[in-house]
């Protein structure tokens, strides 16, 4: 179906937008999953999102997605309109997530160039059941029926004019930013029908006509009403509020009423309460409307704060009304939402970003070539203006570089949110009650890294839920809180991103791991169990085929998890640390190099080489006197600072750099601290502090101890980045 047209561009847009919508939706849902029910904003958001997806899927002719989103939209429409108080919240959350998963899965297929051929039948049936169970207990609200596509719905209200009846012409202008005006209009009609003897409105078809929203937005919404009620009461029902910009109610004669919307000419009645401004506004409005609608002569109602939502008490018998609820026609509204998103974000091919990055690097180099050009060094040259212009150029180039760097950095928030979802799913499946906490989710990491950590992180989180956290009974028996807790945290330390998954579950079972390892002959048979340090034992679980969980569950326990995690992490040059306290829980920390991340670094000179070290690990810079340096017989040196001795690493000797400073009094001591351990680096001199982009040392060169990457300095030279933690190892 879809490929009959050239929809490629549209498809990309469709996928991109809907993915974003679903992501946001999921966040909202998970945020409120522990609440008793969704708040109004959330309900509206879900409703809108589903509506948008339904609309765009309809255009793209992905019928199954359309059906599913439509069903969910129905449910939320019902919830929004009827406020049933019996919503099984978790059930609802699950339904929303199921639908969003289904749509995501279908979109994945589409993205791979396949057909969106998944069947929505089951989900739809589930949703139907859910909706009817909701409704079952609230017969009163039956009027709001399912949101089915039917022929244009009509209000038919038997005219039963009595002598007491008044006829009104009501004109409503919605605020321009209001979305789904037709739904708002529908609500008003819904509210009015309680008191209406006869009611006509234009546009007639609010629900299934796609254009009614536009029409209302442009020309206002017009109602002809026959009622016993007075004007005051109408004002009560239709209040100006956040959505209604202006309401004008005018009484008219029965004959004018009969003439419908073409009739005009009743005398202007000015409401006494209205102030001058309002009248003026109304006048202006009328002028505006001149060529638009047949605007009648209306009374201006003073703007009043508060909700416009009319009470919805249905008194059967008052009127005959066939309402099918708002259907397709809310399209307009979300079209606007889309527009807003488009202006704030565009998706860019990462390759183009890389290209841009390279070009800027090139620019910086050629900049320095120009500015330090030999030709400029002719004596007696007047260069004042040149330097001024050059200064400006340097500034722009620096800004440019900053921008491109920041563009590549993405906060971990989205990835962490995904984990939130996983915790929720898994814990529900396993019947465990787990609290999920995120710390440092705004830590920014290069886009490429994010792509690589998602999978391993997912495994770790699943493991924590499945193996780590005990069941509620076990927890209570152990005297712990019934609720388990998983904490996901991220930080940058010594040039690496540390992402840890911590649980307060049972921790790893040392004995069990050793027993299993013995069984698989993974341990040296001559070594005693007790001779293995804890860390080494815990690392065993990362070996292929190792799973200590007795039962293979749906989620984990096949023993593929951990070794995949580790190989994935290693593939990007990271390591996995496992720590555990029996009975208290365990913590798994991924330490991943930042690769292209930006760090704040201290640039130092040693001989002809330039080194950079992350500012975060530097404790202080010291000039020391020769007498405070002590050399041990094995050649190791340490320096006494404030009564403490710190070992010295002479970078020049360490890396066999030529022409480096050897006199300790001429150079500079840089004290670094990693994991509470301090070491002094001896360098020739400091160059300065600057933001640097970490680039990996090309794979071709095998790993050098203590170096974590390299970077390009402003003048195009390359500096090597020291890995503080790596220097301290050994």
């Amino acid at each position: 179906m879809a490929e009959e047209f050239n929809l490629d561009g549209m498809l990309d847009m469709y996928l991109f937008e809907n993915r974003q919508l679903l992501e946001k939706l999921q966040d909202t849902v998970l945020e409120q999953r522990d609440a008793d029910c969704f708040d109004d904003d959330a309900i509206n958001e879900i409703f809108r999102t589903m509506h948008t997806i339904k609309g765009s899927s309809g255009i793209m002719m992905f019928d199954e997605i359309t059906t599913v989103s439509h069903k969910l939209e129905d449910i939320f429409f019902y919830i929004r309109e009827s406020h049933p108080d019996n919503i099984p919240h978790l059930k609802l959350v699950e339904h929303v997530l199921t639908v969003s998963d289904f749509i995501n899965a279908e979109m994945d297929k589409l993205a791979d160039g396949e057909q969106a051929d998944g069947s929505s039948k089951e989900i739809v049936a589930e949703l139907d059941r859910f909706l009817s169970s909701l409704k079952g207990k609230k017969d009163k609200d039956e009027v709001i029926k399912e949101n089915v596509h039917v022929e244009p719905q009509q209000f038919y209200i038997a005219p039963m004019a009595t002598s007491n009846s008044h006829f009104y012409r009501i004109y409503i202008m919605f605020a321009p930013e209001v979305e789904m005006v037709n739904v708002h209009a529908y609500k008003i009609v819904f509210g009015l029908k309680d008191i209406a003897e006869d009611l006509l409105h234009f546009p007639e078809d609010l629900i299934s006509d796609e254009h009614s929203g536009e029409e209302i937005q442009e020309n206002g919404f017009k109602i002809l009403l026959q009622t016993q009620s007075g004007e005051e009461e109408l004002h009560e029902l239709i209040k100006e509020g956040y959505d209604i910009q202006k309401v004008e109610i005018a009484e008219c004669t029965a004959s004018q009423f009969q003439m419908g919307f073409d009739s005009f000419g009743a005398e202007i009645r000015i409401d006494l309460e209205s102030n001058v401004e309002d009248i003026e506004k109304a006048a202006a409005q009328r002028e505006m409307q001149e060529n638009g609608i047949e605007s009648g002569d209306f009374v201006i109602v003073p703007a009043s704060e508060g909700k416009k939502e009319p009470e919805k008490k249905i008194e059967p018998g008052d009127f005959v009304i066939e309402s099918k609820g708002p259907g397709k026609s809310k399209k307009l509204a979300k079209d606007k939402v889309k527009k807003a998103e488009k202006t704030s974000f565009i998706s860019v091919d990462v390759r183009k970003m890389d290209q841009l990055m390279d070009l800027i690097g090139e620019l910086v180099i050629s900049e320095s070539v120009v500015l330090q050009n030999e030709d400029l060094k002719v004596p007696g040259l007047k260069l004042d203006n040149f330097h001024k212009a050059a200064g400006q150029m340097v500034k722009i180039a620096t800004d440019l570089q900053d921008v491109i760097m920041s563009m590549r950095m993405v906060p971990l928030t989205a990835t962490f949110q995904k984990m939130n979802r996983i915790v929720f799913d898994c814990s529900r499946k396993l019947g465990k009650d787990i609290e999920f906490e995120m710390i440092g989710d705004t830590t920014e990491v290069d886009k490429n890294i994010i792509e690589h950590i998602s999978d391993p992180l997912m495994h770790l989180v699943r493991n924590s839920v499945d193996h780590g956290i005990e069941t509620a009974e076990e927890r209570v028996a152990k005297g712990k809180t019934e609720k388990g807790r998983i904490t996901l945290s991220a930080k940058t330390e010594s040039g690496k991103v540390w992402i840890s998954v911590q649980d307060n579950g049972g921790g790893l079972d040392r004995e069990k791991i050793i027993a299993k390892a013995r069984k698989h002959e993974l341990l040296d048979p001559t070594r005693l169990d007790s001779s293995y340090p804890d860390k080494e034992v815990y690392q065993l679980i990362t070996l292929p085929g190792f799973s200590t969980n007795d039962k293979v569950t749906e989620l984990s326990g096949r023993g593929v998890g951990m070794d995949v995690v580790v190989s994935n992490i290693q593939a990007i040059g990271g390591v996995l640390d496992i720590d555990s306290t029996p009975g208290k829980g365990s913590i798994m920390t991924m330490k991943i190099p930042l690769t292209l991340a930006i760090i704040d670094g201290i640039v130092m000179q040693v001989g002809n080489n330039t080194f950079v070290i992350e500012t975060g690990v530097v404790k202080e810079f010291i000039n020391v006197k020769a007498e405070s340096v002590v050399t041990k017989p094995n050649g190791e040196e340490f320096v006494m600072i404030r009564g403490e001795g710190y070992p010295i690493i002479r970078l020049g000797d360490w890396y066999h750099v030529e022409n480096c400073e050897t006199d300790i009094t001429n150079g500079m001591i840089v004290m670094i601290e990693v994991d509470k351990e301090c070491v002094c680096l001896f360098v020739d001199h400091l160059i300065g502090k600057q933001e640097i982009v970490v680039k990996p040392i090309p794979d071709y060169i095998k790993k050098v101890k203590g170096l974590s990457g390299c970077t390009q300095l402003g003048d195009g030279r390359i500096a090597l980045i020291l890995d503080a933690a790596g220097l301290l190892e050994e």
Binding site: D358, K695, P698
Partner: protein, 168 residues
């Protein structure tokens, strides 16, 4: 049509190293640049001279002479870096002098003659064939071997090979 010709004739970038002329298939060659400032990386093999900044891209450079375990040479203004891309590994080769780009047809290619096949010398393993151009002979290099092949060997016999270095 063109394709048919290409099958028979291949273009090679040739360069001088010592007194011999070596050739690299042109498809591997990204570009040829003049010698740049090289950032030394400590603790690496001697033939890996370090890193250069190629328009924002950091690439390693190796000295071909040292790679062949020949005498090091002084870098001068004729010294060039041939940037090659072998299976997306980008490496710069420091060579004494670029010669020219030549076309060698297939019939002029022949396996490189060796004395004893089983004891292939270090240098020889990089040369997969020789090509005749007129009277001269170009030693055609296998870039993949040039970059990677003996990495393993080097590590295995790192002690010995270092000794070799000093002997040569």
């Amino acid at each position: 049509m063109e394709e048919q010709k290409e099958v028979k004739k291949q273009k090679y970038v040739t360069f001088m190293s010592g007194k011999e002329c070596f050739g690299l298939k042109i498809e591997y060659v990204n570009e040829i640049i003049v010698l740049q400032e090289i950032t030394v990386i400590p603790e690496t093999e001697d033939y890996i001279k370090g890193l250069i900044n190629l328009r924002g891209k950091i690439i390693p450079v190796i000295d071909v002479r040292l790679r062949f375990r020949q005498e090091p040479f002084e870098y001068n203004d004729r010294t060039c870096i041939i940037v090659i891309n072998v299976n997306s590994t980008v490496v710069g080769l420091i060579v004494e002098k670029i010669a020219e780009v030549v076309e060698i047809s297939e019939e002029n290619l022949m396996p490189s003659p060796t004395i004893a096949k089983q004891v292939k010398s270090q240098q020889d393993r990089y040369v997969y064939a020789i090509g005749k151009v007129g009277d001269s002979v170009k030693l055609l290099l296998d870039p993949d071997k040039l970059l990677h092949d003996d990495m393993v060997i080097l590590e295995q016999v790192s002690g010995e090979s270092e000794a070799d270095d000093t002997e040569e």
